[in-house]
Amino acid sequence: MRREQKKSNKLIIIVVLAGFSTLLSFFFDQRVIQTEDKIRELEVQLNNQRVNISNLKATINSTTELSYNIIKSIKYYKDRIDLFYQYNQILNFQVYGLEEERTEFFKKIDRNKLLELKSDYKKNAQNILKSYDYKIDEIDILNQQILINKFVKEILNNNEGFDIMKSDFDNFKAKDKLKNFPFNKYLSYKELFEMSEEEFQNQDDYIIYSKIRDPMNEIDDIEGEYWDLLQRLKVKYNNYYSFFGEKLEHYGSQKNKNNLFILFSIFFQILSLTILLFLFKEMVNQKK
């Protein structure tokens, strides 16, 4: 009777072990499902981070190029309008000035040829300003492209400044400001040298020239804003890049954990089957 009791106890222990092992297998199955969720989430985050790195890189490149493009082209337009202003004055001296005011270089040149040159300069100045306005349109479009970028938006929302970037680029255009420019205005050397700074700045040709030239200087200052933006974007880019490696490591460890859970689940499944075999072995042994 006591022997029977012993035997059945052994059987019960084996059955309990098999049940426990099956339960563990279910438990690890559940853990696999939960970790799978986390892994999926991490995969999404990693993909986002990869997209963000590419996005930041592209924004840094386009901002750098646009900034340099603006300096280079605005410098060109400034030079051209300065040259026009300067050479138009020189030619006015030669055409309308007194004999003693004219220079040797121009003295032997036919007056009509000088007038022709003056008219060419006028036409060129008008064309230059037209192309300058197109350039402003181009800069505006490219600047808008940068502004709609999510990282740029974030930086602009969290920081003060960037006034030129946010401003209306139409204000920088030359439009028809040159229309009223006194192309043939002549002031003798005497008048010029006797003029005070203020008087000189109140001359209608200088006023129009300044109205065209000053916005060129203003838009040129956008370079500083782009430089500031670039430094902030670069910090973000470096952070994203550094954290990508870290996130990838975390993702790897989650995957390893998941594999471990799968392993345990299969292991306990096989173990429960093995314990059942022990049970059958015991039952066969008990059979008379």
């Binding site: 040259l83 005070s196 993702y251 790897g252 390893n256 594999n259 799968i262 089957l273 075999l277």
Partner: protein
């Protein structure tokens, strides 16, 4: 129908099988189950290896993104810097020609156009080049993974610092020249002194040495981009592509081994499962018979 067949099979088998043989059979299956357990552990080992290689490949691919960006942008940067030289030299040739007349009238080709204005073009290009150099060094550090890389970066970082300092010095000198001139101009305007035309030419002339220094800086920057940027990032790209290639070979090897191990584990598990089912059905039938007899 299938269940009946299995029942018949199990009953026949049990009749034909004595206790000793049954125990030997169970022992054999238990022995097999240890192989199944081992196979499952081995397959997980391979799975871990595959995951590690996968992550390494993703990491290397991100590095390739940086190399390609640098390799693509460097020629654009070089072109932009060279354009400044080319534009100025082209204009310079004409202006130099006209400068001969400056003895008679300095307004024909004033120093403002030949010396002063080009300075700002050179300065803008130098600053642009410097920003790009800064980005290159930063990217190079991000992707550096061995001592050789660090040594190379260190070497060119010295060059970068030298160029950076030179640009700062030039900008400082220009600021001093400009401030001095502005003070003088203010004084002359307030004194109604009209003879500042020649002084202004002198002022413009002071930009000439700064231009030469900036030209040298731009040439150094070109050297940096050719000798460091193109070489370093191209070398890194080739190395990374080789690493990815090797990793992919390993990945293929491990995934083949893993699939064989998983298949073995599955077959063994199936054998164990069928055996357990066989015993379960047999035992259940025996129990059912005993209950009926009672």
């Amino acid at each position: 129908m299938a269940r009946l067949k299995l029942l018949r099979f199990s009953l026949t088998a049990l009749k034909g099988l004595n206790k000793q043989k049954a125990i030997s059979f169970i022992n054999l299956i238990i022995f097999v189950s240890f192989f199944a357990l081992t196979a499952s552990v081995v397959s997980m080992y391979y799975e871990n290896k595959i995951d590690q290689i996968d992550n390494q490949i993703v990491n290397e691919e991100i590095n390739i993104l940086i190399y390609e960006n640098q390799i693509q942008t460097t020629p654009i940067v070089l072109k932009n810097i060279e354009d400044i030289f080319n534009d100025n030299y082209k204009l310079d040739d004409y202006l130099k020609f006209l400068e001969i007349w400056n003895d008679l009238d300095s307004s024909i080709a004033p120093l403002r156009n030949t010396v002063y204005k080009p300075y700002f073009g050179y300065e803008a290009a130098a600053n642009y080049g410097l920003e790009q150099m800064k980005q290159s060094i930063s990217d190079a550090i991000l992707v550096a993974n061995n001592l050789k890389d660090i040594e190379e970066i260190e070497l060119y970082n010295v060059e970068f610092i030298k160029i950076d300092e030179e640009i700062r010095n030039i900008l400082r000198s220009e600021q001093i020249i400009r401030n001095k001139w502005q003070l003088k101009e203010r004084e002359e305007f307030s004194n109604k002194n009209t003879g500042h035309g020649e002084d202004k030419e002198e002022y413009y002339k002071k930009y000439s040495p700064l231009n030469n220094r900036l030209i040298q800086v731009l040439q150094d920057q070109i050297n940096f981009f050719i000798n460091f940027n193109i070489r370093y990032f191209s070398r890194k790209k080739i190395e990374t592509e080789k690493i990815i290639n090797n990793l992919e070979i390993d990945l293929k090897k491990f995934s083949n081994q893993e699939s064989i191990t998983i298949l073995t584990a599955f077959i063994l598990q199936l054998i164990i499962f069928i055996s357990v089912q066989y015993f379960e059905v047999t035992m259940e039938t025996a129990n059912a018979k005993r209950t009926k007899k009672k």
